[in-house]
């Protein structure tokens, strides 16, 4: 069984790594990573915006943001993929490639989930930070921009990273609308070989495991580091001579 698995990897490593590229669209592991990085990268600014709307004192900003977050949290990702897959070509009047469809879906989905993380990060800061900033003459927006957000975003770096891991796992759903990524490549190999499904999907699971596990470990290291940094240096009592 192990011999079989190694043979499959030896014969198909290029397909698993980059898909049909350069003779076709970028696929395989490279597409999975590109999709995840772009997805979280574009979702992040959106999520900050949604979070700011959610804690706004204006109902007109708060209500739609809250509705969006609860809506996205209550609908399966698969349904959102189908919506984007169906609506975007209609709205744009042009064919949208699977990669772009999946990217849009991830930005919407992760934007909503990340906004909860950002909001928690902002609300976890002591109230005094905002009060002090306002007392020093900063406007609400400037206080957010220069005092609250830098601290909140630094504190939530670990959560951001673990959301990145979730995004990597969510890209697998692109398989359903035939986005050429890692899971799709593995299914292509499986359809060609037909007789070795266990080996093919075991390899697939192990690749995802290796990537996500290392990222998760890095996240918990970072979490510990930030916790110690937030605690500050060991305080020594200064004795004046």
């Amino acid at each position: 069984m192990l011999g079989n698995a190694i043979a499959i990897v030896q014969e198909n490593w290029l397909l698993l790594l980059v898909g049909q590229y350069p003779n076709g669209p970028l696929g395989g592991f490279a597409a999975t990573m590109l999709l995840s990085v772009l997805g979280i990268g574009l979702a992040f600014p959106l999520s900050v915006l949604i979070a700011l709307c959610r804690i706004s004192k204006w109902w007109a900003l708060r209500a739609p943001a809250t509705a969006l977050v609860y809506g996205v949290r209550g609908i399966p990702l698969l349904m959102i993929i189908f919506w984007v897959y169906f609506l975007f070509p209609l709205l744009l009047g042009a064919n949208v490639p699977g990669f772009a469809t999946m990217l849009c879906t991830l930005v919407i989905y992760e934007g909503a989930f990340l906004s909860e993380v950002v909001r928690a990060g902002i609300e976890a800061l002591p109230r005094g930070q905002m009060d002090a900033a306002r007392a020093l003459g900063h406007s609400h927006l400037r206080a957010m921009r220069f005092i609250i957000l830098p601290q909140a975003l630094y504190n939530m770096l670990p959560s951001l990273l673990s959301q990145f891991v979730s995004t990597i796992k969510e890209t697998t759903l692109g398989y359903v609308i035939n986005v050429p990524e890692l899971t799709f490549a593995a299914n292509q190999i499986n359809n060609r070989l037909l007789t070795k499904p266990f080996e093919v999907f075991l390899i697939l699971a192990l690749v995802y495991y290796a990537v996500c596990f290392s990222l998760t470990e890095f996240t918990s290291w970072l979490e510990r580091r930030i916790a110690t940094r937030r605690a500050g240096p060991l305080r020594t009592v200064e004795v004046s001579a």
Binding site: L78, F82, T172, P197, C212
Partner: protein, 233 residues
């Protein structure tokens, strides 16, 4: 695109049948895997609490695997991979008896057990050691301490996380369509292919999913309020 009209979908008995069957299947998958996940999650936690090195390592590996591999890949590994290793007779029997639903419940349940187990563990760890010490000092044995002092508090602590993961389990049941289980999302695609009323049928499914999810979240919030002690964080 045709004009928006729900009537052709809601009056056609064939579509309604597909939809009803899909909803029933979604509930069977979600409920079945929830029960499996919860019982296995408790078992995993109990194994971890025994303090045996090997048991702890096995549970840690189990949780690490299930949290770091995408759920869809776990489903595929079960349905396409592990199923192919079973004896031929059993494979045939399974494919005659909706084996895909069995594998969906198995895969989703085993996966979610890892999350449930971690939720319960962090709920237990959040209790201060003084609680155990006080319970032991009052004469409770290990079982009594667990039963009357620790478990009720742990459940209360982990309730929000458990509810969150229950909602994601419910949403993940839609992944079962990828291995051909005729649940709600699958039924929706089927009806879409036959009626071409994409917008309407997606809307119906989305509202249904949203309704059940919000119901779960609402129940969770209510339970949380009811069980919270006055003055507790």
């Amino acid at each position: 695109m045709k004009g928006f009209d729900l009537a052709p979908l809601l009056t056609n008995p064939e579509y309604l049948g597909l939809l009803g069957h899909g909803i029933a299947m979604t509930f069977i998958i979600a409920l079945g895997s929830w029960l499996l996940a919860m019982s296995l999650g408790v078992l995993l936690l109990a194994l971890r609490l025994t303090g045996f090195r090997i048991a702890e390592a096995v549970v840690a590996a189990y949780i690490s695997y299930h949290r770091n591999v995408p759920t869809l890949v776990q489903l595929m590994l079960w349905y396409f991979g592990i199923a192919s290793l079973l004896p031929d007779g059993l494979q045939g029997w399974l494919s005659d008896h909706q084996g895909e639903s069995v594998f969906a419940i198995l895969a989703l349940g085993l996966c979610q057990a890892a999350y449930f187990s971690e939720d319960l563990r962090s709920g237990l760890r959040a209790i201060s050691p003084g609680q155990t010490e006080a319970a032991r000092a009052l004469g409770h044995g290990y079982i009594g301490t667990m039963r009357f002092i620790l478990i009720p508090q742990a459940l209360r602590n982990s309730l929000p996380a458990l509810i969150n993961h229950t909602v994601s389990l419910f949403k993940n049941s839609s992944l079962a369509m990828a291995i051909g289980v005729a649940e709600l999302t699958h039924a929706v695609k089927e009806i879409e292919n036959q009626s071409f009323r994409t917008f309407e049928i997606f809307l119906i499914a989305t509202v249904l999913y949203l309704l059940f999810s919000l119901l779960l979240m609402g129940t969770g919030a209510m339970l949380d309020r009811r069980t919270r002690l006055a003055g507790a964080r």
